[in-house]
Assembly symmetry: C2
Homo-oligomer: 472 residues x 2
């Protein structure tokens, strides 16, 4: 126990420093450097035990060479921030160290999950008392559930007979959507070629007419259009597809906006979806992993996935076994992901999440306003961002005179973001993502989900990009 308390000292010190802007976001080293053993930090495992003192040193080193994802200037991922209540929730969860598959060994957590999912379904706008859902290890798995449920709904015999019991099934998703839909298509036996990518407008939103045309095309070929995915907050642009024009849906990175009275109109039509993926571990700042798949139809999750294992789901238990969730899952053992979320919800209230989300969107707006007419910046698309994603190029002075359509300009610009990012990581001051998209060369994608971020951190990011990129 003394050991545990000493570790807590290390951890609370780490947390304190993470929120201190004079602390670096990371202390970068290459893999070979870490593998060679930095200052005695030996990653190799051995036959003999280490002393507890050494274990504490290992813990310190692990944190030292890691990345502070909770730092106010870490903008690299959709999941950022370090919520103290969420952290407390995780600590309690790992202390309880139980498994979501039965009420028997997780009575409180199972009920928390049930109540929270119910609340989330209400926010989607489905009729109260209906529907179901489950927390999964991440958005990609939630999306996999979503595709499985659609398949089970229209071709239930695939569960027992395999894909040969159905006609050729086709899934539709935005060319800007997350790659997990394609992964699900490949894993579940549809084949990635049967995931049809939909064209988008300049803002990255699916063009409904293109969906219509492609569904028609698929039908004419004699295939069966099974599933249409609408993205609410795309990964790179943060685009919201026009849900009302689309049938099925998953939610992904934007789910949290359902909690904001100001922004939930972007979800208009979501109540018409059959299933929704909502990742509280992104926009809402819940520690990883926390993702839910919500379905409109009661019973379909269990219908789709149940195998009725006798050793776990005994029908002759003394309690109401409808509370055992395990047979709804594609997993057996299932980590408790609900508690930290439930606890944060208790501590913030719905209005606390709303404030958090509105604040993040305000910060994005601040960034957008600041750079859209600033010298040396070009926006990837015009107009106010729909989500906190702000996509832009930084153009160093040496490139500003060049013809924008020339190959030379494109080639040079493509190298700017990676170079700035590499220098950023070397100096450890901040982190932001970049990527190409279609014909567009590498650009920065700024996202805000960290409640600790302030306008001054946005200013800092701009200054840092200019400092590092000025002479490129």
């Amino acid at each position: 126990m003394q050991f545990l308390l000493e570790l807590v000292g290390i951890l609370t010190n780490y947390v304190r420093k993470t929120f201190d802007r004079s602390t670096k976001v990371l202390d970068f080293h290459h893999p070979h450097q870490l593998l060679e053993g930095m200052e005695g930090f030996n990653l190799e495992l051995s036959d003999q035990p280490e002393s507890l003192e050494q274990i504490l040193v290992d813990c310190r080193d692990t944190l030292k060479y890691g990345v502070r994802t909770g730092h106010p200037r870490f903008f690299n991922q959709l999941s950022t921030g370090l919520d103290i209540i969420g952290l407390a929730g995780e600590w309690l969860t790992s202390t309880a160290n139980t498994n979501m598959f039965t009420y028997e060994i997780a009575p409180v957590f199972v009920l928390m999950e049930q109540l929270t999912l119910k609340k989330m379904r209400e926010m989607i706008g489905w009729p109260s008392g209906e529907g179901d859902g489950i927390f999964s290890p991440g958005g990609a798995i939630s999306n996999m559930y979503s595709v499985m449920i659609a398949r089970y709904k229209y071709f239930p015999e695939v569960k027992t007979k395999g894909m040969s019991a159905a006609p050729r099934l086709v899934l539709f998703t935005s060319e800007h959507s997350h790659y997990s839909i394609k992964k699900a298509g490949a894993a579940l036996g549809f084949g990635s070629e049967n995931v049809v990518l939909l064209s988008t407008d300049e803002r990255g939103r699916v063009i409904p007419a293109d969906l219509e045309a492609k569904i028609l095309d698929v039908k004419q070929k004699g295939y069966h259009p099974l599933f249409v995915n609408a993205t609410a907050g795309s990964t790179v642009y943060g685009a919201f597809d026009p849900i009302n024009e689309i049938a099925d849906i998953y939610g992904a990175w934007g789910g949290g906006l359902l909690m904001s009275r100001k922004h939930r109109h972007k979800f208009s039509g979501v109540e018409r979806a059959n299933s929704v993926t909502w990742n509280p571990h992104k926009m809402m700042g819940v520690p990883l992993q926390c993702s839910a798949i919500l379905v409109r139809e009661k019973g379909i999750l269990a219908g789709c996935n149940s195998m009725c294992a006798g050793y776990l789901f005994q029908p002759d238990k003394q309690y109401d076994v409808s509370y055992d969730t395990g047979d709804k899952a594609i997993q057996c053992g299932r980590h408790v992901d609900i508690f930290k979320f439930w606890l944060m919800w208790k501590a913030k209230g719905t209005i606390g999440f709303e404030q958090h989300i509105d604040k993040c969107l305000d910060l994005s707006q601040y960034l957008y306003d600041k750079i859209r007419n600033r010298q040396g910046y070009e926006m990837v698309f015009q107009g106010v961002p729909q989500h906190t994603n702000v996509c832009f190029w930084y153009i160093p002075p040496s490139l500003r005179g060049l013809e924008h359509n020339s190959e030379e300009y494109r080639e040079k610009l493509h190298k700017v973001a990676p170079k700035i990012k590499a220098m950023m990581m070397e100096s450890g001051t901040t982190m932001v993502g970049y990527q190409p998209q279609g014909q567009k060369v590498n650009f920065f994608r700024m996202v805000v989900s960290n409640p600790a971020a302030l306008q001054s951190d946005i200013d800092f990011l701009i200054d840092e990009i200019e400092r590092l990129g000025h002479d490129l």
Copy 2:
């Protein structure tokens, strides 16, 4: 931070009490009782925030009405125990709150995973330097990987074209194997009917001749036998299939025995497998979730699962991007499951895990020796258990005179284990699993994986079964 320290006080107090045998394993309540709000414990979420004091009360209540899976007398699941180093590892992991998908944001954890997987492959006996692997959210997902990899190896075009690009594919697994193989068959588009169950001997081990006959049968029908699963430590009996007679394999609950010089002979032939599932969160006492899928062939995991998402796996990063693990996974975001395991391995050394495993098997042997000739007990199968699973019926005095083959006896005996279990949970003194298996009526399945369990806890379990069951 004060809040976090107060929570730590609650948690350390909980841990201390968990190891105190005078503490109850659980304080059972039915779902409706908890939902009505026990002594003010309100599970409902609301719009307004709660005070931090109330949050601490919620945390205390959450633990109070939960189940102490680390209690020395909790034998209900394959995953039991509360390892303090493992717990410390989880606390650090959640404080670091990062994501395994790129070296960029999880440099240390990515390297730890790589080194640990390498070590695990060496223990399997694969040629050093080859192979690959990944930690997944649980054994069921690891098994899903295993099936996907086999499919990709022999029918890589399924990834793009779907199941219709392959002949009818058949999977083989023991009738005693875990239900996740069937779930994988259903999810991945094979269909559960194409998962052929293999007959077992009286100890629950696959009969190789039956496998041979069934493969022949499948071939004669014109189908393609793709995948044979051997179980090393089956869920209920703890049986080890004869691996040397079988091709592919997954490991499941028994994986830890690879670390024991005394018991690893049960894995004889495992080095001939193409993939192995190994769940450190079971026998080895690592906190949930911690499961690895190990594959013999380098590159096949990425080949099977990659979709090359440009926004995450940029090829123009400044470091060696072969360290980015994300595209090997079916997930996108992936929780850090490695650190607690790595830290436990550091703290125990390989020999520490060996001692833990040998001790658990000794305790099972102790239980077996104690009850096999004891009045009122009948073993489900004869002979020393291969794993820590001890399967037995307790026969109350009222049943002892009855003809064992009579329907009346079977019906009455079927109800004994559930009744004792319900009383156990009401009194909260201990927990052990039960289930029927095939034609066999409900029996107890005792498993030992908790390092805190002693012979006196085994004695206690026996006394408790007799105390509660004597008058049935």
